[in-house]
Point group: C2
Chain length 209, copies 2
Amino acid sequence: MSAATAHLIPLPAEETTPTTRDRIVEVAARSFREIGYQKTTVADIARTLKMSPANVYRFFDSKKAINEAVVERVTGEIEAMIAAIATAPRLDAPERLTRIVTALHNDCRRRWEAHPRVHEMVEAAMSESWSVCQAHVDRIEAVFERVVEDGVREGHFAVADPKAVAACLHAAIVRYCHPLLVSRQQDTALPPLPTMIAFLLGALKAADL
Amino acid sequence: MSAATAHLIPLPAEETTPTTRDRIVEVAARSFREIGYQKTTVADIARTLKMSPANVYRFFDSKKAINEAVVERVTGEIEAMIAAIATAPRLDAPERLTRIVTALHNDCRRRWEAHPRVHEMVEAAMSESWSVCQAHVDRIEAVFERVVEDGVREGHFAVADPKAVAACLHAAIVRYCHPLLVSRQQDTALPPLPTMIAFLLGALKAADL
């Protein structure tokens, strides 16, 4: 059975439950992290799960499709983390924005620094599965946009176009939150994050956008 | 003769002229760009120059040292380009800053997009020769700092700490000017550069820093 046609065969009822799919994603995530995306094969993932490669292909067309599921899980965790901060009660918009950027930075450090090989997974997603990355960027910026709008309502920010400003904010923190830069580049050249956040909040107080 | 001791032997007068060293850097730059840093050997560089590897080692201790010279040449060109804009007459500071950031972005695109293998050179410099990268960052930020100071004098910017603000500005444009991101990541998610520059100029008009 080829990878291209395997998904056309109906799955037995017990295998349509999330469990097997989740276990594949779990094992793949661990292998991509520890062994690296390049060196991990679908056969390796199947062997760890004590199943046949054909069975893995019933859930995922390709290693690329498995990677997309792994990336969606990770990015989903990150998005849930910042969405919780965005809706936290008793915090004004500048404070929520500060906490969101700090959380994104700390999460990125914590998640990627321990596993240098994770870059392969990120690079594969960036080059082969851009729509997954784009969707993550869009969801992060939707959270920023909501907080910027709150800040305008609260009188903290002077912003005419919260969507454009949210995209600029996100682009401006790439150096602190992008897995390809955070763990790879030494931070000697980088302003401390609180300084950078103060700078960006300044932009929100008097934005021309 | 080993690479480690070769540099201890005095060079004949005609070889201390910049010409041979420059030719090595020129050939190495082309090879790193076209074949890639990983696959280029010192022997390849010597062969192209019709000289022995030992002769190359009289000028450079290692391939890493050659890469540092190549990177210093490229970064020197970039720094000269923006220094010329920074001191251009009849332009106010916001306009000079706009032109500098735009020039950095366009130069990065032009220089790296045509040669995907150049990433290997950049990555090698980032991991093996950080001081060369750091010196480049410092010189770029010194130019930003000077223009920010000019803007304060001209009454365009309200900035208490031009050095800190220059570092924030530089960090904020990484997504537009870093060779590892500009050519590798698709730009669908990115605000147009003029929008980003307007956002950053807003920060300079009312910086808390």
